[in-house]
């Protein structure tokens, strides 16, 4: 591979995406809806919550293609650089590519300029990438990421959500994206308090993902057989840190035992005709709780 040299007039500066475009390495936009031709793999639910020392990001591990589970252990939460992370939802292929280019963009800027971009600058950079994906989104390859990071200049965690047009919206409490996003959001809304501790924030994201998976078929719950748990990461002044899988498993275990405790002793409304004839029926005065 040759070293790319430019004259001062047409130098792309610290913009790696512009360099990629200049060299013709950016992907072609499809000219008809892709999803009509074949099922596209989709990554689903991701969430992010602010807490006292920064932010927590989490994402389930399922990817679907139509009604098929395409992957059980896909990862949707990535470090963007030392003090920020990006979580993806939408068409998995373009989303992964966007993350790769975004990570490189931040590192490239930092190396060329000798200083990292501000958190605001990183959020805007991602907005531009989402916006440049709009033509592909029109053909069914939508990517809607979440960006979160620790703003080292202001000393606080910040969250950004996006829409398909590249709209960038800063959120003060929590944000979600993907098919189970609204289900997860209602759990976060109930559980969110100002200045949560790290552990509480992690538990809240875990609970949100569990309930999203409970009601959304495209969101994966914890897979106890294979030991696959959501990816959870914290971003604080110390940087991006992935929560160890053992800790996530432990916290899921605690959640499951709380939920199981609630179910015990309760009698379900009968759902099959055989049970209906044998057991108590609603309206018969049976113990319905």
């Amino acid at each position: 591979m040759q070293i790319p040299l430019f004259t001062p007039n047409d130098d792309p500066g610290p913009d790696f995406a512009a360099l990629v475009r200049r060299l013709g390495l950016d992907p072609q936009v499809p000219d008809s809806p892709v999803t009509d031709r074949f099922p596209v793999t989709h990554a689903t639910t991701v969430v992010a919550v602010r807490h006292a020392d920064g932010v927590v990001m989490a994402g389930d591990r399922r990817a679907t293609a139509g009604n098929i589970i395409a992957h059980r252990a896909i990862e949707k939460v990535f470090p963007a650089d030392r003090h920020s992370g990006v979580a993806i939802a939408g068409a998995a292929g373009p989303a992964m590519e966007m993350v790769r280019l975004f990570q490189l963009q931040l590192e490239h800027y930092e190396k060329v300029e000798g200083t990292p971009l501000s958190l605001e600058g990183k959020a805007n950079q991602l907005a531009q990438m989402v916006r440049s994906n709009l033509p592909a989104a029109m053909q069914g390859l939508m990517v809607v990421p979440i960006f979160a990071g620790y703003d080292t200049r202001r000393g606080l965690g910040r969250l950004f959500q996006y829409d398909a047009t590249g709209g960038r919206y800063e959120e003060s409490h929590f944000t979600t994206s993907g098919s189970g996003g609204s289900l997860a959001a209602s759990v976060l809304k109930q559980g969110y308090r100002e200045a949560l501790g790290r552990d509480e924030a992690i538990d809240l994201t875990i609970s949100a993902l569990f309930h999203a998976a409970d009601d959304d078929s495209a969101t994966g719950g914890p897979d106890l057989i294979r030991g696959i748990y959501p990816v959870v990461a914290t971003i604080t002044a110390e940087g991006f840190e992935r929560v160890p899988e053992s800790e996530v498993a432990e916290r899921f275990g605690a959640l499951v035992s709380v939920l199981t405790g609630r179910e015990l002793g309760g009698v379900r409304i009968p759902e099959t005709s055989s049970e209906t004839s044998a057991g108590p029926r609603a309206g018969d005065g049976g113990p319905i709780r």
């Binding site: 790696f16 990629v20 490239h108």
Partner: protein, 228 residues
């Protein structure tokens, strides 16, 4: 039509080499040496912002001496080449050797074909798992590449500094000792270099993905022997 005067090719090359060497000798020198935990890069540089030493890729660093705008242009081109290669193929496929060859091609091309040679010397260093496989590629203004072992010295006073370093160098030095012999070799016997006139960075063998770390001047004061 006027004909240009005939000048022997030997003379042209000699003039260009002299020109480049003079330009390089105007600046301060730089040393890189392999120590126990990685590669130390140490330059005499009074500026805290216009840098001679930089990160190129995960385990690769760049150092340049001579004319700032020329080696900085090379540095940015190197970052671009490395990032593009890692993007197109994989991060593992980015290596110092191919980058050094690329630099040599450019410098060689400029030296023979352009009006003015580049007044720079470049070092491409790559840290690996063990000191014996660490790489130091030293590229001269005319495109000559040297694959150096143990240490490398760039700049006008390279010979004198190399001699001093040769006598002090030992394998497997800890950082603090490596730094002290590097600074002593740069300074010579007659003078002392203060931390405010140094630019120091390391490629750490055991670091995470990005091995490059700058040692800022405040930290440097703690690592260097006292003035007394």
């Amino acid at each position: 039509m006027s004909m240009p005067f005939y000048v022997a090719p030997e003379q042209v090359m000699k003039d260009r080499a002299d020109y480049a060497r003079k330009g390089i000798a105007r600046g301060r020198s730089l040393v890189a040496l392999i120590y126990r935990d990685g590669i130390l890069l140490c330059a005499e540089n009074p500026s805290a912002t216009l840098r001679k030493i930089s990160e190129i890729y995960d385990r690769i660093a760049f150092a340049g001496v001579g004319k700032y705008n020329e080696f900085d242009q090379m540095r940015i081109a190197g970052v671009r080449a490395a990032d593009l290669k890692g993007y197109t193929f994989s991060r593992e496929d980015v290596d110092a050797r191919s980058l050094a060859n690329n630099y040599a091609q450019i410098l060689g091309q400029v030296f023979t074909h352009e009006m003015k040679p580049m007044e720079v010397e470049i070092l491409v260093a790559e840290v690996t798992g063990t000191a014996s496989t660490d790489q130091l590629f030293h590229i001269l203004y005319d495109g000559t590449v040297m694959d150096e072992e143990r240490f490398s010295v760039l700049g006008g006073e390279a010979e004198a500094i190399s001699t001093r370093l040769e006598s002090a160098y030992r394998a497997d030095l800890p950082l603090i000792e490596a730094l002290s012999i590097a600074v002593a070799a740069l300074a010579g016997d007659e003078r002392r270099i203060e931390p405010a006139d140094l630019e120091v960075a390391v490629l750490e063998r055991t670091a995470g993905r990005r091995a490059f770390r700058r040692i800022d001047r405040a930290a440097l004061a703690g690592l260097l022997p006292d003035a007394s």
